[in-house]
């Protein structure tokens, strides 16, 4: 399936940036969890190898084929998520885990890529300058169904990550004032309905804590406070690898997952933060620049949505851990511990490389 031209066009720099950020992640995971049970960094290394393999598997299949198959994948994943809701076990408060022989995974993570492909398929047919209502409604429905199922699990963090896909596709399709106004109204109304009928108390509390984290330092404000203390006390150069007191003495919660960037802040200081901001930015910038290196609409949508998905998660997380956003279970792709998240990111970036390597028409 891959010919020599395509092989030559594989974006090794992008894959290299992917690996660099993943290795940084593993170092931070090691520092934040080496003293407790679970061997998280070992599992992450295994997942990295698996993900790398899957990435090359993704490269071997023409993305147009995947886009074509995406509706079937979509239905398959909906069934899987629905089944989990009914039969799944509760892990950290949510029925979002599927248990395989060795390691468990969250299909809701991988569902992001499936939705991405379906949206790409829908919008590849769309050739007008501005988004039309039918397309908006159709793509909205495609995103809403899995989001609803995942939100009920309840895994708000993962559910929220589907929205940038929709937003990205809308942005690329273009919005005139009328659709923009309509979108705003829908956002406000759904926000109101969600707050009053769907958000659980602890989720609401996290939102109110954002406004004033000091009001309840041992309650829901605790996580933000400890995270800010960790980051702030890192100073310019940090406390050193494995020497962060907030981490090693376990004041920082969810150290190897949601708060992995706080680990970076405490142990490597502002310099470390700055360097990782640069490496991560380089990765995102390279994906964004790839938007123009696609031979069709579907490819552009795939690359753009993948870029927006990763950017959204990264920025949301680094702002959430310093108290700019409410604490929601959104990990940083590549850096945070989590096999499904790592795999999903590799698949998404794999699609980007896939699109890029097949930009020259030689069929």
């Amino acid at each position: 399936m891959i010919d020599r031209v395509q092989l030559r066009e594989i974006d090794w720099v992008l894959i290299g940036l992917l690996l660099v950020n993943s290795v940084i992640g593993i170092l931070l995971i090691y520092s934040s969890s080496h003293y407790q049970n679970g061997n998280f960094y070992v599992k992450q290394i295994i997942w990295l190898l698996i993900s790398l393999g899957v990435l090359f598997l993704v490269l071997s299949i023409d993305y147009k084929l995947l886009v074509g198959f995406s509706p079937y994948l979509y239905v398959l994943f909906l069934l899987l998520l629905g089944g989990l809701l009914i039969f799944g076990r509760v892990i950290s408060g949510a029925k979002s885990w599927i248990h395989l022989a060795i390691i468990g995974g969250q299909p809701s993570e991988l569902a992001k890529v499936v939705v991405l492909l379906v949206l790409a398929r829908i919008f590849s047919e769309f050739q007008r300058t501005y988004l039309s209502l039918e397309f908006a409604a159709l793509s909205g429905a495609v995103v809403f169904v899995p989001v609803a199922v995942i939100a009920v699990q309840p895994d708000l963090g993962t559910a929220v990550c589907f929205l940038p896909l929709l937003l990205a596709s809308f942005l690329l399709a273009g919005m005139n004032r009328k659709t923009l106004a309509l979108l705003l109204i829908i956002t406000v109304v759904s926000g109101f309905v969600g707050w009053n009928f769907f958000l659980k108390d602890y989720q609401k509390q996290r939102l109110t804590t954002l406004v004033n984290p000091g009001q309840d330092p041992r309650g829901s404000g605790y996580h933000v406070l400890q995270s800010k203390i960790a980051i702030g006390s890192g100073g310019l150069a940090g406390k050193g690898f494995k020497k962060g007191t907030q981490i090693q003495l376990r004041f920082l919660p969810a150290r190897h997952t949601d708060f992995i960037f706080s680990v970076l802040g405490e142990e490597f200081g502002f310099l470390g933060v700055f360097i990782v901001l640069l490496t991560y930015f380089s990765l995102l910038a390279r994906i964004f620049r790839s938007v123009g290196k696609s031979r069709d609409r579907a490819g552009m949508y795939i690359v753009f949505m993948a870029a927006c998905l990763l950017t959204f998660q990264f920025l949301f997380n680094v702002m959430m851990i310093v108290g700019l956003f409410p604490i929601t279970g959104i990990p940083i792709p590549l850096l945070s511990y989590g096999g499904s998240s790592l795999l999903t990111t590799f698949v998404a970036v794999g699609l980007v490389v896939n699109v890029k390597m097949r930009r020259f028409v030689n069929v």
Partner: protein, 599 residues
């Protein structure tokens, strides 16, 4: 177009993508600035917070100084290790849940537990709050066993004051209690809430020499408050042990004699004023105070009608009765009102100022001189002296002998007693002094009030032929040199009378000890007027029973004063008790030819 997508015009899509990317660049710059602000500008603030998070200062209380008796070998107060259970609120995953579990485990009521925790709400994070002290070893084992389950419950050890002989010398030693917030603001500014300080007795008067310097440990703790490391450690310092003038055997004997009665016994080292025994009954166990009373226990003790907390030896003010004849005797001789050869006739009653005054002996003592008057404690002889002296002169002598003012003993709470004078009557009752009242004062009745320790100090003064001593409990208390203006020869004559009292069949003969030359004076005082007592009948006719004396006559070593409330005649009740003390002293110190105890 549809068939050849490559020619599609997608430039507007690219433009949109670039706009979004610019937005993202701006966001990245914003994030970088925000982290710069947090990590560089606010660095100090967060650094301090992270240090406060990870370190914990633990105070290591210093044990109080050890107290021994005068020999140095009998320990009257020391410290033992005590275990207490404390809760660290921050370690509790579910506060309600752990309150329930802990109350079950320690057998506390859940409400009481919560109230206690609420009381210390303002303590800094991770400060343990004591929920139960004086744990038994079983309790400790039980808590240790649940360590994994209840990380919020920790066991701390602290030195606890312990009085090995419980009641023994309780009124001398005093007791310690938790500081009140009031004391924290005034007397003990440098101490902490919850610390124990001496409330009375030696524990209070020598607080500065008892309380050690607390130590401190700076620990590194993890988020569960578990100790991970130690950064600094300052050991607590205990102050050197203090020896008291108390003699264990005399003290134990005194308390044994008092058991079941209400009263006080004071034994002084005649030469120095060192308190060899000071007992007050009923008494209490000072260990109870250390263990933090329950409110019920405290009310029971404080409201006990027998007032066990009152130190009768220096807070009980009694009419001196015939004991006061010693003052009258010295006063009469020194003022040359009489000489030792002056005689008066006692017919059992004498009429003065148109009113009969009775002797305690109804048939009377006949004609007697000064020495016989003291020996027999004849009232009529002293009425005659009283008629010839004025009250202010008597008051002057009483004060010279140490009555009407504090002796200065190093136990807090001493009462002054009362020596009446014309000025006093004018001040308090706005009336003139009647000469008839002087007659009552002459035999120790009337408004006169003395404490047993005052009587003991006065007796030591007489024994030393005019040299005053200050009663003191601490063995090495500063010596006291002051002599009265009364010549030694006069005391010699008073002492001759006192010697006869014990050794020539006088009122104090029950205190006589073979070959020890006890000199004594007894007293039996009506605590209400004689007429009233007779009107009320037999039951109330019982008088307070006094004895005071010293021995031996020519080398005074020990003073013994006994007061038994409602004990009856001094010669019958108090004197034999004093005799036993003298006897014990003699066998322990005098017979062995051991050097006289000094300070």
């Amino acid at each position: 177009m549809r068939d050849s997508p490559i020619y599609e015009d997608v430039s507007h899509l690219l433009t949109r993508s670039r706009v979004v990317f610019i937005l993202i660049e701006v966001l990245f710059i914003f994030v970088a600035f925000y982290y710069w602000k947090t990590q560089i500008l606010d660095y100090k603030k967060y650094w301090n917070q992270s240090e406060a998070n990870r370190t914990r200062e633990v105070i290591v209380p210093a044990p109080r100084a050890v107290l021994t008796d005068r020999g140095g070998s009998v320990v009257l107060a020391n410290n033992i290790a005590s275990f207490k259970a404390s809760i660290i609120r921050e370690n509790s995953k579910n506060f309600e849940d752990s309150c329930r579990k802990i109350s079950l485990l320690l057998g506390l009521e859940e409400e009481v537990l919560k109230q206690r925790i609420e009381k210390y709400r303002s303590l800094p994070l991770f400060k343990p709050i004591v929920v139960k002290d004086n744990l038994t070893l079983e309790d400790v084992a039980l808590i240790e066993g649940r360590k994994m389950d209840l990380p919020e419950l920790v066991i701390e050890t602290e030195p606890k004051r312990f009085y090995p002989f419980a009641n023994l010398a309780a009124h001398v030693l005093g007791y310690i209690q938790e500081l009140t917030p009031d004391e924290l603001r005034t007397t003990f500014k440098d101490r902490r809430l919850g610390e124990m300080v001496g409330k009375t007795g030696i524990e209070n008067s020598y607080e500065a020499r008892m309380a050690g310097v607390d130590g401190k440990i700076v620990e590194v703790v993890d988020s569960l408050g578990r100790k991970r490391d130690e950064l600094d450690r300052i050991e607590p310092q205990q102050r050197p042990k203090l020896s008291l003038a108390i003699d264990y055997d005399l003290q134990a004997k005194a308390e044994e004699l008092l058991a079941g009665k209400e009263g006080a016994i004071v034994a002084l080292d005649a030469k120095t004023g060192g308190v060899m025994a000071l007992a007050s009954y009923p008494t209490y166990d000072p260990n109870k105070f250390v263990n933090r009373f329950t409110p019920e226990e405290w009310m029971a003790l404080a409201n006990n009608p027998d007032t066990p907390l009152v130190n009768r030896a220096l807070q009980g003010q009694y009419s001196p009765g015939s004991i006061f004849k010693l003052v009258m005797a010295a006063a009469a001789l020194d003022s040359r009102t009489i000489t030792d050869q002056t005689t008066f006739f006692c017919g059992g009653v004498i009429e003065i100022y148109g009113r009969p005054f009775h002797c305690w002996s109804e048939p009377g003592h006949g004609t007697l001189n000064f020495y016989e008057a003291i020996r027999q404690s004849c009232n009529v002889y002293f009425y005659n002296i009283g008629r010839r002296m004025n009250i202010d002169a008597i008051a002057g002598y009483a004060e010279q002998l140490g009555l009407g003012k504090r002796t200065g003993i190093d136990i807090p709470g001493e009462k002054e007693g009362l020596v009446p004078s014309t000025g006093w009557k004018q001040r308090t009752q706005k009336t003139a002094w009647y000469p008839g009242e002087t007659i009552s004062v002459a035999i120790g009745q009337g408004p006169l009030q003395v404490t047993p320790v005052q009587v003991a100090a006065m007796t030591a003064l007489i024994a030393n032929r005019g040299r005053k001593v200050r009663p003191h409990v601490l063995l090495d208390a500063a010596p006291f040199t002051e002599t009265t203006k009364i010549p030694a020869a006069i005391f010699e004559q008073v002492i001759e009378g006192m010697w006869r009292s014990a050794n020539a069949g006088g009122t104090g003969q029950a205190a006589k000890v073979e070959a020890f030359d006890v000199c004594s004076k007894t007293g039996s005082t009506q605590w209400i007027g004689r007429e009233t007592a007779e009107r009320l009948g037999g039951a109330l006719k019982k008088t307070h029973s006094w004895f005071t004396g010293f021995a031996p006559r020519n080398d005074p070593q020990v003073v013994v004063t006994v007061l038994i409330e409602f004990g009856g005649m001094g010669g019958a009740t108090a004197a034999p008790m004093a005799g036993q003390i003298f006897k014990l002293y003699k066998t322990k110190y005098h017979d062995r030819q051991s050097p006289t105890p000094r300070n």
